[in-house]
Symmetry: none
DNA sequence: AATGAATGAGGCTTCATTCAT
DNA sequence: GATGAATGAAGCCTCATTCAT
């Protein structure tokens, strides 16, 4: 925080923090420890007209810095695209300074990789929990795909992730930076593990005579994942651009469930 | 009264037609058979003020060079991603100088929009041709989706397009540049027209009792398109990264056909 | 009720004052004694909507760095001409990196405008001080023109300014950039104010029968200013090109004084 | 010309020429050999809105190409400034192609030098003619300054020249290009000759007891020339920016005459 | 731990100049 | 003589990253 200060206002104490970025100034007013409202003054050209953005917000208290940065970055990457999102954007969104990001991450790409790795980790964890008690291939398949769907549709952050995954995965293969090779390897491994798990379950289902045997399991998996992502992407697009995509989250869920059922059956 | 006349302009012949009406005079200028622009002179009093109405159609230079640039850009955008592709990359790939690109396009974004607009135009054209003789919703749906699939799987350029469409569409909404607004509008319109066409056909099929009535047509369309794109994307990914995706073009085609059949049925 | 408070912000101390009126609360933020901005909160109900009135005064960072850049730019612009001066030249002259200039100014044109605006501001200030105690038109005219002459002949920077003003003023009218419109307006206003002041004094002198009545005040002013600028320009040219212009600063001053006396008299 | 073509319109034959530039298209319509009107279509972006500039003009018939280019360049340099004027601008204004300029001139700087050299040549010629029969220093001085004034105030081109001279002279000293050294030398010589002539006449007048002896002749010359240029510049500024400068050509002339008379007298 | 001023490499874009036609 | 497509050097500007505080 740039600075803090207390001043009595009305019947309670008003505390505020003050943060100057390159292109804007952020003031946060707190009452009772909660951020009371946030005032962003953009375009600090002297003697000029200004643009203000207000955000009345009561933030989570226990936000560790790392999580805060990742959350902000997810939003910014999704809205602007990785390349066009700047470190300054992320810092502004997170309410911190640009330098601090480099205390928690190697560089911008590392932030992106960390978002993806966190997501894949969460997905793996959820899958492990759900699959523990299941034996039927159909139930297993459903469980995994529902986990995928839920993580993406659960909240705004999930919608952002669809956009990010879509954009980022092709790049990950290309990463050359030595210091990020380990993270790159982990992501590719986790991703591959996920796909293999799906392929194996589909093959198992085909083998047991439960699923349609005429199709290549890999294509089937690709279709199922692609359909889910696309459907969720539509939801992201709606919230993001304001255009009506023609359906809501429940429609999306129903359709995905129906797709799985119909498509894998004999 | 009408007359025609040819005059050499640059490297191609300019042809124009001349037509005098009672109250105005119309000049039409043609290049390559296209009406280049149309000039209506309302009150032909010499040395006086005039009223003009223009209608411009196709003022562009060598189409082959333009196509060459677009082809190179498609490849580069697909391989590096739009954000990481530089103008120098495109020029190198096309075998021309960087400056020349700015003779044919406004800037990098304009190149991207042109690629997409050309693709959507081709798709629309192919759809119009195929749909002319069809009445059955199922046949219509199949025709459109096969057009889509064929354009994308037909050759390398098609595979590149999947990657580009995937990455670019979110950006298009964000375009603020004044000079690109018209192209942005056209793309969004063409895209919307395509989606509406699909939605209408699906709704028609549902109404006639041919398709599954329980699902929202927009979601169904989203799933079908998403699945096709994802499957084709897998093929691109294989050729591009060298990783085996686990299936080939024929598998992909078979699966898509089967998906359509199964998913839309009652 | 009022209170004051200090909080460190970046490298300087932020001071603010706090004032509660019956219907609103006013916060004033100061840096270096300047009111940084003023925030009026109309209805201080917590967690509710607010009404704010802002008045921004001087949001800028280190003034010394800004001045350093302007000084370097003045020199470079004068020696190379605005058009041929590069940002790299200015940065080199100021002993900083190119990027830093963009932290203090919008772009190259903004640097130029800032130089001119600063000069006009100094001139206005000097005029205000000198004119405070004068009533005689002749004395007033002399005071203003001597201020002008002194600011330009005082030191090297003054000589540079002649060259810059000469070159820049035609450009200022042409500025289209939205972000520079405000500065453009201010310069034109300040310039106009200066000319109007001169014209008014000349007209007053004519009216009182002190000055030559046969001539248009605007032309007279133009001649006086043009003569001064040209004479000073000669001095700049000498130091800059090494060519002997044939006179020195004292000659210049004597001639200007004599010109004023002779030219305005009846 | 790009192309020519004839078509009967009303009771007389309409001939038109057609010229495509990079950023605009120029049509010229002729009647009876005169350019009837000129239509400039800017921003030839396909499918887009256009900007039109009309110019109804009846050009001189015997325009040699070289003179045409210089005339166009004078206008463009004056309006945009040398650096920001492009060869394409000049070609467009002259109604020719960019390449043709390089058939008549070495490069852009050569065009500028040629404009100035032509002007100085005209001035020298006019001075030689006028001075032939004069012996009185006062008459000689008046004759030279009136020549200067007349050439600059005579027409639009003269006004443009004030602006160009103002901007260009400081640069001429800096020219390093080998191929332009000769022209540079000529300009500096002609300029020096002009100034020397003035200085000599003033000194002569002082010596003969006709002029004020208390001032340095060089400063006096500088003041007289500076005043004239500034006054004429005001007229240019008015026509160019549309702002009212507060006086007209006759006011300017009267004031200049009066200045000379008053300033040089004892 | 946190800040944000400072750096400078690298991309986009313009435009003087060339040259095949 | 005349054209204008093509070239590519050079400048502006952005922004990831560093580092003194």
């Amino acid at each position: 925080m740039g600075s803090e200060c207390r001043a009595p206002i009305g019947q309670f104490v008003l505390r505020f923090s003050f943060l100057r970025h390159e292109s804007c100034t952020v003031l946060r007013f707190y009452a009772f420890g909660h951020a009371f409202f946030m005032l962003t003054i953009a375009a600090a050209t002297p003697y000029n007209e200004f643009e203000f953005n207000f955000k009345i917000c009561i933030p989570r208290m226990e936000d560790s810095k790392r999580a805060k940065i990742l959350e902000a970055a997810t939003k910014v990457f999704a809205k602007k695209g990785f390349q066009y999102a700047t470190i300054a954007d992320i810092a502004r969104e997170a309410g911190i300074s640009t330098g601090l990001i480099y205390l928690y991450f190697e560089n911008k790409l590392d932030v992106l990789l960390s978002i993806i790795l966190d997501f894949l980790g969460n997905l793996q964890k959820a899958n492990r929990e759900k699959l523990a008690n299941l034996t039927c291939p159909k139930e297993k398949l459903l469980a995994i795909l529902r986990n995928f769907e839920e993580l993406l549709m659960h909240d705004e952050q999930g919608l952002y992730l669809v956009r990010i995954l879509n954009e980022a995965l092709p790049h990950i293969v290309m990463i050359k930076e030595k210091s990020l090779q380990e993270k790159r390897r982990q992501i590719l491994l986790a991703n591959r593990a996920l796909l293999d798990m799906l392929d194996t379950i589909i093959a198992e289902g085909q083998h047991k005579g439960l699923f349609d045997r005429s199709l290549n399991p890999c294509v089937m998996r690709q279709i199922l994942c692609g359909a889910i992502e696309r459907v969720v992407y539509g939801l992201f697009y709606t919230t993001y651009s304001g255009d009506d995509i023609g359906y809501q989250a429940p429609d999306a869920h129903a359709a995905v469930m129906r797709l799985i059922e119909k498509f894998i059956q004999k």
